[in-house]
């Protein structure tokens, strides 16, 4: 027995020490995870406070726009309208295209009927017959239906304008939106422009109203601040445009990306050009009306955004054509869809730390992280951005819905986690392409515009 005790004692002591070291390693890992995530969430929190203050400052000191320098800049323009099963909404957009005030001899409108199985193609052809400026391109099921990027690349082959603008089929722009967007290209450093989408069917459901809030925060504050601060406004793929020459040099849209617009944003900056956000170039859009459609749309955005992050993050970091603040903002934009998952991990790590090794620092940060959850939310815009944005738009009553954005954020956390998992699986099994989940449009806002 003494021999057994003599042998087992060092083993037991060693295992206790090893257990203590193992536990210490786990605690260290949890602390590192918690502090890393808490630092990132705080960075996003500070960023959005800065954005809000920048917009408030811009209102007091508006900048001189390119139009003040070259008011008569009127290049040739091609408008691309990719459409897949959009018979409920495309008619109103094509009607609007005929009402645009831009010089007609400099305007070309191209509708890409991307393997539609409904009446989209027929409706577009009717407008094309009555107006020679409208050209319709049909893609059959074999060639088409592979996503928006592929449809746009197909349309680009027929574009003749110096500037190319894109509108999704459910959009309804201002009559003079082309002039407003195009004037920024008078500056040769500008490679692309982005206007402001405004939700038309916001009164339809809780989802549409909350999406409206997100859009207000994202465009009225976020995009405008990035433009004012000389950071990276994003090209959103619609209500915007780019120089055809630049896109041809870049080889067109990357068809493997679900977020081809975000990818183009970074390709343009990496090529040494800039993007301008034009706040007064506004266009109505149709928001998703239920949570299932919201999931599908945001899952595509999150997955696409993560793809773009993996593709461009290192290039942004080492690029010599981006200045320091553009690199920081670019990296924050690229990683924004990972943040909901990271903050949840921080919350879990913080909870475990409080159980195993509570300390003042952990208590403090664990209280701040939930606040950061609710505040930073990346591209979905934090509550103070939304609040200020609504106030600047003269919409005080809609601010009462802001607390509901907390639940939207938690829902988006699930979406981002699922998107990350899907991307991980796709990369693991080396799938080159993930499925494009189209957002269906029903023309729910048509009653507001007399259609």
């Amino acid at each position: 027995m003494d021999c057994i005790f003599l042998v087992s004692k060092p083993i037991f002591s060693y295992s206790q020490k090893y257990a203590r070291n193992g536990e210490s390693l786990i605690i260290t890992f949890l602390k590192a995870t918690f502090l890393f995530a808490a630092t990132l969430t705080t960075a996003y929190l500070v960023r959005h406070y800065i954005f809000t203050l920048a917009v408030l400052r811009k209102i007091k000191n508006p900048r001189n726009t390119a139009s003040a320098v070259s008011p008569k800049y009127e290049p040739s323009v091609s408008i691309l309208i990719p459409a897949h099963n959009e018979e409920n909404v495309i008619s109103q957009l094509l009607q609007r295209m005929l009402e645009l005030t831009y010089p007609r001899d400099k305007l070309q409108i191209i509708v890409i009927d991307d393997a539609s199985s409904d009446g989209t193609g027929q409706i577009a052809e009717e407008y094309s017959k009555r107006c020679e400026r409208i050209k319709v391109l049909h893609r059959d099921k074999n060639a088409g239906g592979k996503g928006k990027a592929a449809a746009l690349n197909f349309g680009l082959e027929y574009a003749k304008g110096e500037i190319v603008l894109c509108f999704d089929a459910d959009y309804y722009p201002q009559k003079d939106i082309v002039e407003k967007l195009v004037k920024e290209f008078a500056d040769p450093a500008v490679g692309a422009v982005q206007g402001r989408p405004v939700v038309l069917n916001e009164a339809q459901s809780v989802v549409t109203r909350l999406v409206t809030l997100e859009r207000i925060g994202g465009y009225r504050i976020d995009q405008e601040a990035r433009d004012a601060l000389g950071l990276i406004p994003q090209f959103g793929g619609t209500v915007g445009g780019f120089r055809l020459s630049i896109l041809k040099e870049l080889g067109g849209f990357d068809e493997s990306m679900l977020a081809e617009d975000t990818d183009l944003t970074f390709q343009i900056y990496l090529a040494g050009f800039k993007i301008r956000y034009v706040a007064d170039a506004e266009c109505y859009e149709e928001a998703v009306t239920n949570w299932k459609a919201y999931w599908r749309q945001r899952h595509r955005w999150a997955l696409g955004h993560m793809q773009v992050c993996f593709k461009n993050a290192f290039s942004v970091l080492k690029s010599k054509k981006l200045n320091f603040k553009e690199k920081i903002d670019g990296l924050l934009i690229l990683h924004v869809y990972f943040m909901p998952v990271i903050t949840m991990l921080a919350f879990i790590a913080g909870a475990l730390l409080i159980i195993f090794e509570p300390s003042q620092l952990v208590y403090t940060f664990w209280l701040l992280v939930p606040l950061a959850f609710y505040s930073f939310v990346g591209n979905f815009a934090p509550f103070f951005e939304v609040g200020i944005g609504a106030y600047l738009d003269g919409r005080t009553r809609i601010q009462w819905l802001i607390p509901l954005l907390l639940f939207v954020y938690l829902y988006n956390t699930l979406i981002c986690a699922k998107a990350f998992f899907d991307l991980f699986v796709a990369k693991l099994f080396r799938k080159n392409r993930v499925c494009w989940a189209k957002t269906h449009h029903f023309g729910n806002g048509n009653c507001y515009i007399g259609h």
């Binding site: 266009c283 607390p403 806002g445």
Partner: protein, 88 residues
């Protein structure tokens, strides 16, 4: 310790739902009786906004109206040329 735990549980079970209710009360009121005047008006003029809400202009009428506008401008120009120059 058990009493403290029970007290803490009771406190949290009352205060947290109350806090959530108070925070979300304005949202519930707005959803029940919406008074927000959306959507945001972005169209060029108030008149155009009203007209877009009122009726839809068919494509044939747009082209006819444009032709009529052009001919009307020519007519008005001819009339103005025939009038005496009042400035002189």
């Amino acid at each position: 310790m058990i009493l403290n735990l029970i007290q803490a549980l009771v406190l949290f079970s009352v205060t947290i739902p109350l806090f959530i209710f108070i925070t979300l009360l304005p949202a519930f009121v707005e959803l029940k009786k919406p008074k927000d005047k959306g959507p945001r008006m972005i169209l060029e003029t108030v008149l155009e906004g009203i007209s877009c809400f009122m009726y839809n202009i068919p494509i044939e009428n747009i082209e006819k109206e444009q032709k009529f506008d052009a001919s009307l401008r020519h007519s008005i120009a001819r009339i103005l040329e025939a009038l005496p120059n009042l400035d002189a």
